[in-house]
Symmetry: C2
Subunit: 436 residues, 2 copies
């Protein structure tokens, strides 16, 4: 029998003793509290992953929404199918064809953003204690999902050409020797979040061969693939292997995140499980959102919009990288060829997490590298986003950041350390929306 | 090490050996296949829980959507907060005040329909093997969620006044003696799905006292509460007890399900966990959907719309009950005072599940009672929905159903049984969207 709440709980939470094991790790971190401050307009946020939407043709979209409700309202406002609207699934096959993926609408499951796709994939595959392999570093929101399903995450190094095949092979061999159950490799092959790197064309078949050999499914998360600044997109991993790869896509970065429309392309048996899991989670994804996205794809020149986005984000990347060269020459960074993020290594001895409160005080925010590692390492790195602020604000943000970094560096030179990290400090536990 | 998919799987699914334990129960049932047929226009579906949306002022809603995107597009199309839009949470406190619930916007968590609320509540509370107590019968979509989290569901009888307090007390006492961990009582107090009954005013404090005494949280799911045909709404359970009740609400039945906007009102500590779980599941609920619902509540006379719905659904209830009296006097049923559903007991010896294929052949569909019981009982009942078809179609549907029932009854009288249930038959495993 459960005890009375008065005795079982604590004074703050009468249900303290009732939570599931998976809920114990769910605590708001001090970084979250800082981000509440960082959202103030006077702070330049290089932390968030929010796309910049001012360039969208809002009047045109508004008119298409009007027509959608006026002419198809009883469908748009009704429950839909668990798998998603067929017209949207058709369009999705055309979008992914740009990266060489040949899919049938039957292969597609529409989800409430690709975050929900990640959640559902993990739900159907991961038992507590199972291993998920990811890049080191990896997307904070994915790590949060894996943690919430009590997975054990093993991270494998990447370099300028993405995930390192030899390191992956060695890690999978080691895990096999240890008798661990590896459920899948989670990878962001294009303009990786947070590292900004892209898996080279040469490595793509190698990674697939290694996973196939070890019997490991590949979960390919590709929100940024069409946002390359210079080159045509590389073929998706899914384009090489339809049985061994689940492909996760999203309209959040190429159109708008507010509709929460993402998708999975999966082998049929896995697709069936995903549909059942999705029905359990939400009954059906929003028809209104799905038809809005389908109507946008039908009636607007979405390829031209993506081209506009690419140019805008390239300008912002250039602004960020230029400002880093000017203001922060003591740090080092990569120059991403697409996406939203630059991964910065701080000068020797600095701790990005410990420094964050001082940065926010100086009115600039970033995400410390520790958020992207399961084991809490990464304090020598920070992720800087160039997606949301204007180029002028990006330059100003880096200028402020350089002031903080240089002051910290002086302390390190004088005292050998800038500050002790707070022993109670935690990483970002959940994928706070502005970290997407 | 995982084995190679070729050897670990079967020929149809190379990942057969990789699924999580929770995924093993996820199989499409033969009832699902039937419902694909039942969705054909020539079939009168008394199976679905879809609201009838023709009465909505679509032109007005279309215009408000146009203005929403044109004037607040960069907010509506952007990521939002994990807890949900503050303006919508404000409105929600006014909606629930109609049932005596006093809530602050801080107490509200917006979810992707109330199905997602159910999923997140179960996620934070239920470990495999934990017990969830529900009414017998109970909502099929809730049973599916509990099953997917590997809960053990114990169902307690209800009567014409709802859940029976003495039965609940006895069940909780028995479970305590057995050392079982009961995580919560899941109850639909108003116009219950599927039984159509309402928990009486007298029983409400009794149920709460029993749960408090046993240290059991109450999850009050109330999608239909404002859809009473005759009386003012009874006070919600949450109105008596803010610490011991999680209140789940939805706009799917009082406005439109296509936006997928539901919510939870929770004690603060539980709310914090729900927000973190929601961020892990979807990052943030759709801003476009939330602002659409908030704008509707602001600019349209939503109370008048609910009044229209009540009258329309009362007419349909009357049509269904009238047709049952005329065509199916050998069955018995309740007369619900609100909501969407009538719970019908078949004449002695008939099996609703075994009969369903013949009903669909006769172009009428319903949900067999077995879907609403965890242990597969309930074959002597069926749920008939009066929400979606017109009164004329409802009458025609019952006429067709009576033809099938009477033919079955003749077989029973002659042979003592109408048919053997298929031993391989399964219940509806997931909450198929049209069962909502």
């Amino acid at each position: 029998m459960n005890e009375l709440p008065e005795t079982a709980g604590n004074r703050l939470d009468p249900w303290f003793g009732s939570y599931a094991a998976r809920a114990h790790g769910m605590r708001a971190s001090e970084i979250r509290a800082l981000f509440a401050v960082a959202n103030r307009p006077e702070v330049v946020s290089l932390a968030g992953g929010m796309p910049y939407l001012e360039g969208l043709p809002l009047d045109v979209i508004a008119d298409t929404m009007q027509r959608l409700i006026a002419t198809k309202g009883t469908t748009a406002l009704q429950y839909g199918s668990g798998q998603g609207e067929e017209s949207l699934r058709e369009h999705i096959t055309q979008v992914v064809a740009l990266e060489g993926v040949s899919a049938h609408p039957d292969d597609v499951v529409v989800t409430t953003g690709s975050q929900s796709a990640l959640d559902l994939v993990t739900r159907i595959f991961v038992d507590p204690g199972d291993v998920v392999v990811t890049e080191a570093p990896s997307y904070v929101g994915a790590l949060g999902v894996f943690r919430s399903y009590q997975a054990d995450v093993v991270q494998v190094p990447l370099d300028a050409d993405g995930l390192v095949p030899e390191e992956l092979d060695a890690a999978l061999a080691r895990l096999a020797t240890e008798g661990r159950r590896v459920k899948f490799l989670y990878t962001v092959p294009n303009f990786q979040n947070p590292a900004g790197v892209t898996l080279s064309a040469a490595r793509r078949p190698q990674i697939l061969e290694i996973c196939r050999r070890h019997g490991v499914l590949v979960v390919e998360d590709n929100p940024y693939g069409l946002l390359g600044f210079d080159d045509e997109p590389l073929p998706a991993l899914r384009s090489y292997d339809t049985d061994g790869v689940l492909y996760l896509g999203s309209f959040s970065k190429t159109f708008a995140p507010g509709y929460r429309v993402g998708f999975v392309i999966a082998p049929h048996a896995v697709r069936d499980k995903l549909v059942l899991a999705s029905e359990s989670a939400v009954l059906s994804p929003s028809n209104a959102s799905q038809l809005a996205v389908a109507t946008y794809l039908e009636t607007c020149d979405w390829k031209a919009q993506i081209k506009d986005y690419r140019e805008m984000y390239r300008d912002r990347r250039d602004a960020l990288v230029g400002a880093l060269g000017e203001y922060l020459p003591t740090a080092s960074w990569n120059v991403p060829r697409g996406g939203f993020f630059v991964w910065v290594r701080l000068p020797e001895g600095l701790d990005a997490r410990a420094m964050l409160p001082r940065a926010v005080t100086a009115r600039v925010a970033y995400v410390p590298g520790t958020a992207f590692y399961y084991d809490g390492s990464g304090s020598d790195h920070m992720r800087l986003s160039f997606c949301f602020p204007t180029p002028e604000r990006i330059r100003e943000g880096v200028r402020r950041l350089a002031g903080v970094v240089n002051a910290e560096s002086e302390l390190v030179q004088i005292f050998g350390t800038s500050a002790q990290p707070d022993p109670d400090a935690e990483d970002v536990e959940g994928p706070a929306p502005d970290l997407a």
